[in-house]
Symmetry: D3
Subunit: 321 residues, 6 copies
Amino acid sequence: MTLPLTVPPKPGHQTFLWSPLVTDLDTLDAHIAIIGMPYGNAYEPHAVSNDQTRAPDAVRSVTDRVCRSLERYDFDVGGPIYADRALKVVDIGNVPFDIHDQRSHFGRAEATVRKVLKAGAMPITIGGDHGIPIPIFRALDGEGPVTLIQVDVHIDWREHVNGVHDGLSSPIRRASEMAHIDQIFQIGIRAQGSARSEEVAAARAYGANIIPAFEVHDAGIDTIIDRIPDGGRYYITIDADGLDPSVMPAVEGPAPGGLLFHQVRKLIHGLVRKGRVLGMDIVEITPSTDVNNITSIVAGRLIVNLIGAAVRADYFDAPPV
Amino acid sequence: MTLPLTVPPKPGHQTFLWSPLVTDLDTLDAHIAIIGMPYGNAYEPHAVSNDQTRAPDAVRSVTDRVCRSLERYDFDVGGPIYADRALKVVDIGNVPFDIHDQRSHFGRAEATVRKVLKAGAMPITIGGDHGIPIPIFRALDGEGPVTLIQVDVHIDWREHVNGVHDGLSSPIRRASEMAHIDQIFQIGIRAQGSARSEEVAAARAYGANIIPAFEVHDAGIDTIIDRIPDGGRYYITIDADGLDPSVMPAVEGPAPGGLLFHQVRKLIHGLVRKGRVLGMDIVEITPSTDVNNITSIVAGRLIVNLIGAAVRADYFDAPPV
Amino acid sequence: MTLPLTVPPKPGHQTFLWSPLVTDLDTLDAHIAIIGMPYGNAYEPHAVSNDQTRAPDAVRSVTDRVCRSLERYDFDVGGPIYADRALKVVDIGNVPFDIHDQRSHFGRAEATVRKVLKAGAMPITIGGDHGIPIPIFRALDGEGPVTLIQVDVHIDWREHVNGVHDGLSSPIRRASEMAHIDQIFQIGIRAQGSARSEEVAAARAYGANIIPAFEVHDAGIDTIIDRIPDGGRYYITIDADGLDPSVMPAVEGPAPGGLLFHQVRKLIHGLVRKGRVLGMDIVEITPSTDVNNITSIVAGRLIVNLIGAAVRADYFDAPPV
Amino acid sequence: MTLPLTVPPKPGHQTFLWSPLVTDLDTLDAHIAIIGMPYGNAYEPHAVSNDQTRAPDAVRSVTDRVCRSLERYDFDVGGPIYADRALKVVDIGNVPFDIHDQRSHFGRAEATVRKVLKAGAMPITIGGDHGIPIPIFRALDGEGPVTLIQVDVHIDWREHVNGVHDGLSSPIRRASEMAHIDQIFQIGIRAQGSARSEEVAAARAYGANIIPAFEVHDAGIDTIIDRIPDGGRYYITIDADGLDPSVMPAVEGPAPGGLLFHQVRKLIHGLVRKGRVLGMDIVEITPSTDVNNITSIVAGRLIVNLIGAAVRADYFDAPPV
Amino acid sequence: MTLPLTVPPKPGHQTFLWSPLVTDLDTLDAHIAIIGMPYGNAYEPHAVSNDQTRAPDAVRSVTDRVCRSLERYDFDVGGPIYADRALKVVDIGNVPFDIHDQRSHFGRAEATVRKVLKAGAMPITIGGDHGIPIPIFRALDGEGPVTLIQVDVHIDWREHVNGVHDGLSSPIRRASEMAHIDQIFQIGIRAQGSARSEEVAAARAYGANIIPAFEVHDAGIDTIIDRIPDGGRYYITIDADGLDPSVMPAVEGPAPGGLLFHQVRKLIHGLVRKGRVLGMDIVEITPSTDVNNITSIVAGRLIVNLIGAAVRADYFDAPPV
Amino acid sequence: MTLPLTVPPKPGHQTFLWSPLVTDLDTLDAHIAIIGMPYGNAYEPHAVSNDQTRAPDAVRSVTDRVCRSLERYDFDVGGPIYADRALKVVDIGNVPFDIHDQRSHFGRAEATVRKVLKAGAMPITIGGDHGIPIPIFRALDGEGPVTLIQVDVHIDWREHVNGVHDGLSSPIRRASEMAHIDQIFQIGIRAQGSARSEEVAAARAYGANIIPAFEVHDAGIDTIIDRIPDGGRYYITIDADGLDPSVMPAVEGPAPGGLLFHQVRKLIHGLVRKGRVLGMDIVEITPSTDVNNITSIVAGRLIVNLIGAAVRADYFDAPPV
C-alpha cells in the first residue's frame, strides 16, 4: 500500500480559511499552500501520535474565529486579507504517516513541499512537533541563500537524541548543515531546552544570532528587526512556545517571559517588507492543553498576518477581483 | 402581564459591591446606579439567552474578589473606593426580558437608563452582548454632545445583520446616527469582526477615530489619551474582547494583541480627569469560558477604578462620612 | 509524639531540582537549602490545609518542566544553572504541622531556617500562605540590617486578624517590628487586600516604600531597581499574586495589572548584583486553580534565576567541577 | 421570512445512522423518519435555547458509537439493524424555531409529523424538552385509539405553568384531552416533579396507570409489560430521566432509583411484539452534563432497538436486499 | 472566645428543604432537626477540613433538586413529603470547629444532639466523615436499647488509628462499647477498609451482623429486612460508600458491587414500619468528586424518604394543615 | 538495540499490590505474576499509543484504593487477600514496544508469558487493547485443552482489519484457530462491534457459546455459570466494556445493558471453584475518560477477587505465614 503525499483533514474539519482542498499536487495551481504535517520523528511510542499531531486540524477548526469571512476588513493587515485580489490559497491536507514504515515519512513531507515550491506557491505549514521543519528545510535547497528566522524558547541544535537525528531537538542543527541555509536568527530564547553547553558552542561557532526573549523586552522588537539584514530570502519557523504562555498556552514546555503577539506580528510584517519570505511553519501546539482554543486562534492569526502582508507586498501575481 | 423595568439578581447572587438593591426607579436616590442588562437583540434562538446573559450576575458574584470591603484601601484609586464619602451607590438589578414580546425589551432598557439619569445618577451597566449599549445611547439624548469612547476588537458599524438593526454588530453605527453623539474613538481595534470595507468606509466618512491596538502598543496609552479632546462629556463602552485574551479570556471572539489592564485603567482615569464621564458599560463577557473568574474580576476592577476616580474628581455631591 | 523539623515530600514527589533530600539538619552541608513550608497560621478550619499547603510539592513536581537537566544551558542565567560548579543544593523537605498543637508550628519553621543559616546555606522557601515568612524573618535576626523586598498585590500590614497575629495578612507588620529589618520595599501593590487606611498609614509611618504595579509599568523596572540602595543585605518575599494573573493564575486573590515575569526576573538579578540576597520565599500558590501548571513552573523559574545569578556573583565557595 | 418545516443538522453533524437527509417532506418516501425537535415552549428566556435543544445533534453525533456500521451484527436485535432489508430510514433534520414568532413553532412541529405520517413513515423524534411530544400527539389524531406509554420520573399533568399550556410539565395532560388517546401508562415514576396532589388526582380520574419505578424493580419489567393490553397501537414517549441517572446522567432533574437499560429495552421489544408501535420520542437530554456521551449513546441504542424490533416484526414493506 | 453549638450554613447556601434556620437550641420546638456536622476527628492536617466537611452545605444546596416544593406529590413516599401535616422541620445549621481546641469539638456535637433529643425532635445529620456519628451515639444514651443499622463498605471497628479513638475508622467499635447500643447490623460490607482480621473477630465476638453487599444482591433486600427484629428502636448510619459508586460516586474509597438506591430506600421504609427510627446520619460524601451533584441529591432523597415514611407512620404529633 | 522482555512501570507508579518488581524472568520465582501489556497491534498511527496503553500503570496507581494493605480483611474474598499465606505475587512490569520494529512486539509479549508459565506462575495481565490476549493465548499452548471465558460487548471474530490479523477485533478468531483452545464462552455480548453476519456465523460454526448480556440479566449469573462445564482449565479475558458503563465507564465503545460487578465477581469465584483458572487479562480501559478512577479500581478489584479465590482454592503451594 503506497500512501499519497497528502490526505484530507479528518471528517468534520474544514480546510484553513475555507480554501479549496487540493491533494493532486502535480497539477497544483496556487499562490499559497497550507500544509498540515501532523507527524514527526518520534523518540518513543507515545510520541508517534503526540498531542502535536492534532494541531493541524485544530487550527483548521478555528478558521471561523481566525477570520469571520474572507471579504471582511482585517485590521491586523489593513483590509480584506486577500486585499480584494484573486489570490489562490489552497489547503493541501495533511502528510500521512505510514505506520509500517516510519522512515518513509519525512521523505513524503519533503516531496510535498517540493511540489508546492515547484508550483510556485508559498508553503505555510502547521505542525506537528519541531522535527517537521527538517524536510521543509531540505526542500528549500533551490531557494537559497535562505536566512532562517526562528521564534522559539529553545535553540534546537542537538546532533541527535537517542540516535534519532531528525527529531524535534535538532531542526536548527540540521539547517546549519545545509548549504542553502545562510544566516540563522533565533529569537525569544530563554529557560532550558535540549541544549547543553556544547550545542550553544556549536550554534555560536556557526554564527547563529541567539536573541534571548529578555533582550526583545528590553530593546524592543523594532531594534531586533533592524538587526536582520534587508533584502534576504527568509524562512520563518515558529515554535508556539516562543510566544509567552499567556498568549499560546497549549505547548508542552511552557516558559515564562516569552514574546507577545504584537511583537511577533511586527516581526512577520517587518520581514515581508525587508525582502522575500519564502514560507513559514508553526509547530509544537498541543491542543489538549489549550484554553478556549486561543493557541490555535493565535496560530491562525499569525498565518493571516503573513498572507495579508505578503499580498500587500505584491508577492503574488494576483489580479484584483 | 407587564414586566417591571428591573428585577433583582438571581437567588444566591449578591448585589455589586454589596450596594443596596433598589428596583423602584421612580424614587431613586443615588449617585451611581449599577445596572444589569443581560439580554440583547438576538440573531438566532440560541442567542436569546447567550452566555453573555449570565455576565451581570457573574460579575456581581465576584464582588468579594473585586473588593475585600468598602472601607479597605484600594491602591488602584489611592484610598477607599468611596474616598470616605457618603457615596450612594445602588444596584438596580437586571432589566428583564419578555419572552412573548422581544421587541419591547430595548424600550424597557432605555426607560431604565432614563430613570437613572433623571435621578442624577451615573449609569454603570454590565451586559449582555454589545447590542445593549444602543438603548443606553438613546437615553443619553439630553446629555450631549457626547464623546463616545469604545474599547473593542471590532468597530461594530453594521447597518443590520439579518434584518436586526439593534444587534451586537451595530452599536456604533446606531450611535453615529444620534444627534447627541459627537466624536467617536474606537480603541484596541484589530483582527476581524462584522465590518466589511463598506463599514470601515462609513466609519471613516463619519470621522470616527479608529485606533488599532498595535498603535496603542507602539505609541503608549498616554499618547492616545492625549488625542482625545479635553473637557468633553464622555461615555465609555468596553467590549471585554478589546482587552487581551490573557486579561479577559471569557469572550466569544478572542483576538490576540489586545489592550492590557493597566492601559485601560489609565484610559478611564485619564477621561475622568479630562472632563465628565457620563457612564460606562462592560459587555460581551461569556462566563462559561472564564478562567478562575478572572474576566468578571477584571470587569469589576474597571468599574471600581471608574467609581474611585470619579469620586476623587468631585463628580458627586457626597459629603465625608 | 515529637515531630521532626522537616519531613520528606509526599510519596511520588521528587525533590526540587532532583537535589539530595536531607532531613538531618544538624549535619547540614549545603550552599542552598530548598525548604517547603506548607502550613501557616489559619484563621478558620478550612485554612489549616488550604490549597497553598499543596504548593511546595506541586512546585517540586514540575522540576522537569523548570529545568530539563542540571547540565543543560539555561538562557535565563547564561549557562548551566550551577555554572559548572560543585554547588551543593539540598532539599530539606517540608516543615510538618502538629495537628494537636498548632502553636508549635512556627517555632519549628523558625528553628528549621536557623539550622539552614547556621550551616551557612541560603534558604529558599516555597510556601504555604503569606504567614510563613514570619518565622523566616525571625530566624534572620543575626543577618541584619536586612532590606526587605516584597513582591505582592497586598501590603500585609495588619496587626492581627481575628486575634491571629502571625497570619497571612501580617508578615510585613511583623517584619517592621524586628530590629534587624531595615528598609522595606513593597512592589507591585494594587487593588485591595487586608489593608485599611490605618495600615497604609502605619506602613508610611515606618517609611515603607510602597511601589504600585502601575508605577512599575510606567517607569520601567530598571528605575525601580535603581531606587533600592546598593550594597544591602536583601531578603525577597514573593507573593504569587504580585505577578499578573496571566503569568501566575493559581492564586486566591488575583488582581489584574500585575508584574510580568521579565520584570521580576530582572529585579532578582538586579538585587543579586547590588549586594547580598540572603534568601527568598515564594508563597500563596493555589495549585488547584492552576492552568497547565504554569504557576508552579514560574515559581520554579524564579528560584532558578536566583540560584543561577547568585552562583555567578560568587556567593558560594563552590569550586568548578 | 417563512421558515421551512425542517432544516439540516448543524454543520459538522452527521445524520442519525448516516441515513439520507431529506427536507422536502412533500415527496417523502420512507419507512422511518428521524426528526429533531430542539425547541419547546419556554417558561423563561434561558429556556428558549435550553441545553435540551442541543440533544438532537448530540445524538446524531454519536452515531458511530451507537452503530459501527449498518451491516454489522447487532446483538440487541439479533442481526443487522435493518435485517438485510431495503429499509428506507431518512433523517429529516430539525424543526426550526422562529425567534420572532414563538407561537408558530409547535404548528410547524405538528405539520412536520403529519407529513411523515402521511408518507406512511414511523416518526422517531429526538427532543428537545418534554413539551415537544405535544404537537406529535396532535398529529396522531388519525391513528387512534392510541395507547400512550411514557417512561419518566414525572407524570407531567400540569394544566399550565405560568400561563404556558404546551410546556414540558403538561404533555400527558394535553394527551389526556385528545379523543384519539386512549389508555395511558406512566412507568418509572418516582421522586417529585411538577405534580401536586391535584395533578395526581386528575391522572387517576382519567384512569392513567401510574407505575412507580420501585414497582418495576420489585415485580420485574415482564410483569409490567403483561399489564399493558395486547394488540394496541402504542406511542412511546421516553423522558431520559425515567432511566436511572447511572444510565442516562445527562438530565436536568436526576432522581435515583430509575429504570435500567435492559428493562426499557425489553419494554420496547415487548410493545413491538404486542401490537403496533406508531412512533417514539426521546426527550430531556442535556448534553452539557453528559459523561463520555453515554446519555446520547443510550438514546441512540433505544432507537436502534425499536427499529430492529419493528423491522423483524414485519412492520414495513421492505424487501430483502 | 466560646463557640456556639451551631452556626448557620455558609452564605449563599439555603437550609435543607427551605426549613426555618434555628440556632437557639434551648427553645427548640421541632419534630425533626436537620444537623450539619462538617468536622470529624482528623488523623492528619489535610483531614481537618477534608472534602467531607463541605458535604452538609452541598446537600443543602441541592434542595431544589431533591424536592421541587414541599406541597408537590412525592412518589417515593406517596404524597407530599409532610403528608399535608403541620410538620415542624428545622435546620439547626452546622456544628462549628474550634481551630484552637480540636478536642472540644465532639463535646459540642454531642451537646447539640442532646438538645435536639431533649426537645423531642428526631435528629437527621449530614456529615462530615464517619467519625461524626460517635457523639451522636453518645447522645442517644437515654434512648436505648438501640438497634444500630449501618450501611457501609467498611465495618469501622478500629480501636484507634494513630492514637485517635474517635476517628472515622472507629464508630462501630465505639458504639459497641456503649451500654445503650444493643444489636448491630452492618449492611453492604465489601472490599477492604481499616479492618484487620482482629477487628472482624471483635465484631463477631460482639455479635455484630455483618451482611456483605453480595448477600443483599443474592437474597434480596426484603430478606435482609426480615432478619432485623421488629419493634426495635433503630438508629441508621449511612456511609455514602455503602451504596454503589454508580449511585453515589462522590466518596473517598469507592468499591464496586454496592447497594442500589431502591434497596436502601426499602430498608429505610422497612425500619420505619417495624418500629421506631430514632434518627439517621449520612456521611462520607466528598462533593469535589461528585458527578452532576448526584451524590448530594441521593443523600437528600434518602432523608426525604425517611421523613415521608416517618410522618406517615404517625411518628409525630403533627395535625393536618 | 535489543529491548528487554519487560521494563518497570513509569516513574512515580508503584507496582500492583506493592508486590516486588521482577524483570529478570529467567530466575522468576512466583505463584502469580502481574504483567502490563500496554501495546497492541495498531490499525493507524494514533492507535500506537492509544489511551489503553496507559491502563497498566493507571491500574497500578490505584493500588491503595483497591487494597488498603495486604493484611487487611477483604470482604470480597473473606479474609486477607493472600489468606495469611506466603503467597509470592510479583509484578514483572510492562512489555515494551520497539518503535522501529512493531512486528517484534507480540513475540516479546508471548515470550514473556511463556517465561511466567514456565516458572509455574499464573499470569494476570493488564492491557492494552483487546489485541494483547493473542500472544497470551499462544503462550498457553502447553496448558490445553483450555476453556476460554470472555466477558465483552463484542465477539471479536474478525479475520483481519485492514490487513492486521492480530488486532483488537480478532482475538477470539485467533483463539479459535489454536489447537489447545477448546470451548469458548462469550458473555455479556450486546450492541455492535466489528462482527458482521459472517463473523457470527463463523463463531457459531465453531460452537462458540454466545451469551448476550440480556440473557444474564434474565436468567441470573448462576444459571450461566452452571452452563460452563466443571473441571475445566479456564482462561478468562475481560474487556472492560463487557461490564456496564456505569461500572466501568472508561472504555472506548461503551454500550448500555452490561454486566454488573457482582455478576462478574461471581463468575470468577465460580470458575475458580469449578476447575483451574490458568490466568486472566483485563483490557480496553481508557484512563483519560475515567470517572474518579473507578474503572481502574474495578479492574483491580476483579484481580484481587481472582487472587483471593485462587489461594483459598489451594491453587498454590504457599505455606501459612
